[in-house]
């Protein structure tokens, strides 16, 4: 991993950040699944993807954008608390990166899927954790939500992350900037 913010990282953080915001304000961010909440969100997936393809800094920034957007958008008192909506989200992309990096040498697909799953669980655990600390939920309620909703959501994130990252890599991610000039190929 190169150091710092290259133009590539700036741009990818920007566009994935835009998607994170969009998923948050539109109904697109919700996938109806048979869980207590009735929905699994994929709003945190851009941060996971950013962490996987461009590293922890980009993952952190996208997580920040997601968190602030979540805070500004919130209609639930829970998320109007920046410690619940913003702080935990910083870690999603960072942890996704480390999980991906750790599993990469065994199998690329396992690494991506695991990063998706763990990244999503990070979101679930840290958000609920802060909610408990700040007094919005009791520990037992939080644990219940984490299992009943968090696990299906993590599975959704795994599938979506895997689908997106593999399709991107197939299209042209590996040919770097030349992919855009491939009209001549």
């Amino acid at each position: 991993m190169e150091k710092g913010l290259s133009v590539r990282r700036i741009v990818i953080a920007g566009v994935l950040g835009a998607i994170a915001i969009l998923l948050g304000v539109s109904r697109l961010g919700y996938i109806p699944v048979p869980t207590p909440a009735g929905n699994a969100t994929i709003m945190h997936v851009p941060a996971i993807i950013g962490g996987i393809i461009e590293g922890p800094i980009v993952g952190l920034i996208i997580g920040l954008i997601f968190g602030v957007s979540s805070f500004l958008d919130a209609t639930v008192p829970l998320f109007k608390d920046p410690l619940v909506s913003i702080f935990p989200r910083l870690f999603i992309g960072v942890i996704a990166f480390f999980v991906y990096f750790g599993f990469k040498r065994f199998n690329e697909y396992v690494a991506i899927g695991a990063a998706g799953f763990v990244g999503s669980m990070t979101n679930t655990i840290l958000v609920l954790g802060m909610a408990v600390i700040r007094g919005y939920f009791t520990l037992s309620v939080a644990l219940g939500v984490a299992i009943a909703n968090g696990i299906p959501e993590a599975i959704v994130a795994l599938i979506v992350t895997l689908a997106i990252v593999t399709s991107w890599k197939k299209i042209g991610g590996s040919i770097k900037k030349k992919s855009k000039i491939s009209e001549d190929i």
């Binding site: 590539r8 953080a13 566009v15 998607i19 954008i65 500004l72 829970l78 599938i159």
Partner: protein
């Protein structure tokens, strides 16, 4: 179903209502800082009186900004059901956690004390205050102003090698592309045939199916984002952009005395609200 297609080109990160009031004229960076300090004050203040003052102040802000109060109310309305549920939950389950003073009601595991009642009421007030204050902020500051304001606010971080301009460039790009992606999404959604109900067997299988159902929308959205990213990189580099290098700035940073006054007054106000020993 109609609400799904309301992702019009007018989607923005909050609306901007230019009324030219004094609040609109504050420099965005110090406005943001003052807002943050105010929010901290709101988050900490736990007295009845303090919150009453804050509530009145939040409402008054709309008047000062010359923004009709219904914008604030429309921010609170959707939250009401959640607030009621949350308050109920806190009332019923937090008696244990916040034991103290007079017990008002006890039945089984349910313990309601004066402290738990205070927690519920103050939480509700806090929530309303934050919504109102952040509404005034976003309604009185355009996104461009906010991005530049954030950039100026973070400038001191340059000394610890924090890439201030690059960070604000990321935010600018994100904000710039939200409406573009929204329109793209709308096109994709309209092109989708309406889906019938999927009857899979078993809960886990359903989850996988439902997720895959979103692929025709999600995957093109992300692919398009990546393609745009590749183009943007070329365009930015062709216009001589190099991260980290010195650059000049089109927007001039002009702080007036009143911006400092705003900051000072807000800080003093927050400190007062938090630390003054109100009787209630």
């Amino acid at each position: 179903m109609t609400s799904r297609f309301e992702l019009t080109r007018n989607i923005t990160i909050g609306q901007y209502i230019p009324t030219g009031s004094v609040i609109h004229q504050f420099e965005a960076s110090l406005k943001l800082l003052s807002f943050a300090i105010l929010v901290v004050g709101i988050a900490i203040c736990s007295s009845y009186t303090g919150n009453l003052i804050l509530l009145a102040f939040s409402i008054a802000l709309f008047g000062i900004a010359r923004i009709p109060i219904h914008y604030g109310i429309s921010g609170i309305k959707p939250a009401l059901p959640f607030m009621i549920i949350l308050s109920l939950m806190q009332l019923l389950f937090y008696g244990q956690a916040a034991q103290g003073e007079t017990t008002l009601f006890q039945f089984g595991f349910i313990l309601i004390t004066t402290s738990s009642v205070q927690l519920v009421i103050v939480s509700a007030m806090r929530f309303i205050e934050i919504i109102l204050v952040s509404s005034v902020l976003t309604l009185s500051t355009s996104t461009t102003e906010m991005t530049h304001g954030l950039e100026h606010l973070l400038k001191p971080l340059k000394y610890i090698k924090f890439p201030v301009y690059e960070f604000s460039l990321i935010i600018t790009i994100a904000i710039r592309f939200v409406p573009t992606f929204a329109m793209e999404m709308e096109k994709l959604m309209k092109a989708q045939a309406s889906r019938g109900a999927e009857f899979g067997t078993g809960k886990w299988w359903q989850i996988v199916r439902k997720t895959k159902d979103t692929f025709p929308l999600i995957i093109p959205l992300f692919s398009s984002a990546m393609e745009r990213a590749e183009d943007l990189i070329l365009a930015m580099e062709s216009r001589c952009y190099t991260p980290g290098l010195k650059r000049t700035s089109y927007r001039q940073y002009k702080i007036a005395l009143r911006d400092f006054l705003l900051l000072i007054i807000t800080t003093l106000f927050s400190i007062f609200i938090v630390f003054y020993k109100f009787t209630y």
